[in-house]
């Protein structure tokens, strides 16, 4: 039996990788993908907890379903924004989009 800690540490590693990507990628879609990674890492921990902790009674899995729902909504709106960016700026690199900066 794999101990609960291995799942949680795997979740932590995935979350860290995703966060690094979200902070550093220049491609807007790359940032979106990194955020999806972070969602997955969180979900992994939820599911692991709901499997191992006696009093949880599948709450973790239900929460993971809600996270997936929100992730789907986020992806749809996010990609629509990326398409809008591309139409207006002809680039999808977020650091070249600096109209509101000075």
């Amino acid at each position: 039996m794999v101990p609960l800690h291995s799942y949680l540490i795997l979740g932590g590693i995935l979350f860290a990788i995703g966060m690094f990507g979200a902070l550093t990628r220049r491609h807007a879609i790359g940032i979106l993908m990194s955020i999806e990674l972070m969602f997955n890492a969180a979900n992994l921990s939820f599911v692991a907890f709901s499997r191992y902790l006696p009093e949880s009674a599948l709450r973790g899995q239900v929460f993971a379903i809600f996270v997936i729902t929100v992730a789907a909504a986020e992806a749809a709106v996010g990609l629509a924004i990326v398409l809008g960016l591309y139409r207006n700026f002809k680039t999808v690199n977020v650091d070249e989009i600096n109209l509101m900066k000075w």
């Binding site: 039996m1 794999v2 609960l4 800690h5 291995s6 949680l8 795997l10 932590g12 995935l14 979350f15 860290a16 990788i17 995703g18 966060m19 690094f20 990507g21 902070l23 550093t24 990628r25 220049r26 491609h27 879609i29 790359g30 979106l32 993908m33 990194s34 999806e36 990674l37 997955n40 979900n43 992994l44 599911v47 709901s50 499997r51 191992y52 902790l53 006696p54 899995q61 239900v62 379903i65 809600f66 997936i68 729902t69 929100v70 992730a71 789907a72 909504a73 992806a75 749809a76 709106v77 990609l79 629509a80 990326v82 398409l83 809008g84 591309y86 139409r87 999808v92 690199n93 977020v94």
Partner: protein
């Protein structure tokens, strides 16, 4: 080593390696395909955790829905030849420090934590999750449906061409 330990090890290595490609991949399409691999290995880990319904939902929504949308958007926005450009911005150093600190924090907390023993899983998770969703979690369920509707309309309005 039991079969579940070997499977966990393989899936964990796969998911982390694919996640690294997602973040550091030069080619954005390769990154998106690596994301598919990460999602699939996480779904495999869900199966190890007796959450087969969630594993199926994960593949259905993440792989069949979100990644396809992402690939679609990539093909619409980038010229197919996209090599040689910088893929990371100038915040790499700061981000490394922040992320390294976070990872250290998570691991050190987990190292010292101990959780109460393990529970036997319910035999059939799917009907149980369904019942939970329409009894205990009815309100979040309805809120989620409103959120999806709002996202649907929002995405439509954002992606539509504005009238000149």
């Amino acid at each position: 080593m039991t079969a579940s330990e070997i499977s966990f090890f393989i899936l964990a290595v796969l998911s982390v390696a694919a996640a690294l490609v997602v973040v550091f991949g030069k080619n954005i399409v390769h990154a998106a395909l690596a994301l598919v691999l990460t999602f699939c290995s996480v779904a495999g880990i869900y199966v190890l955790l007796d959450a087969e319904f969630l594993a199926a939902v994960q593949i259905l929504l993440y792989v069949g829905g979100i990644t396809i949308l992402i690939l679609f958007a990539i093909m619409l926005t980038s010229r197919i030849s996209g090599g040689g450009v910088r893929i990371l911005n100038e915040q790499v150093g700061v981000s490394l420090v922040v992320v390294g600190g976070l990872l250290l924090l998570i691991v050190s907390v987990l190292w010292n934590a101990s959780f109460a023993g393990s529970a036997p899983p319910p035999v059939q998770t799917t009907p149980y999750i369904g019942r939970l969703l329409i009894t205990t979690y009815l309100l979040p369920f309805e809120v989620a449906s409103i959120l999806l509707l709002a996202a649907l309309i929002g995405a439509l309005i954002l992606a539509r061409k504005e009238k000149e």
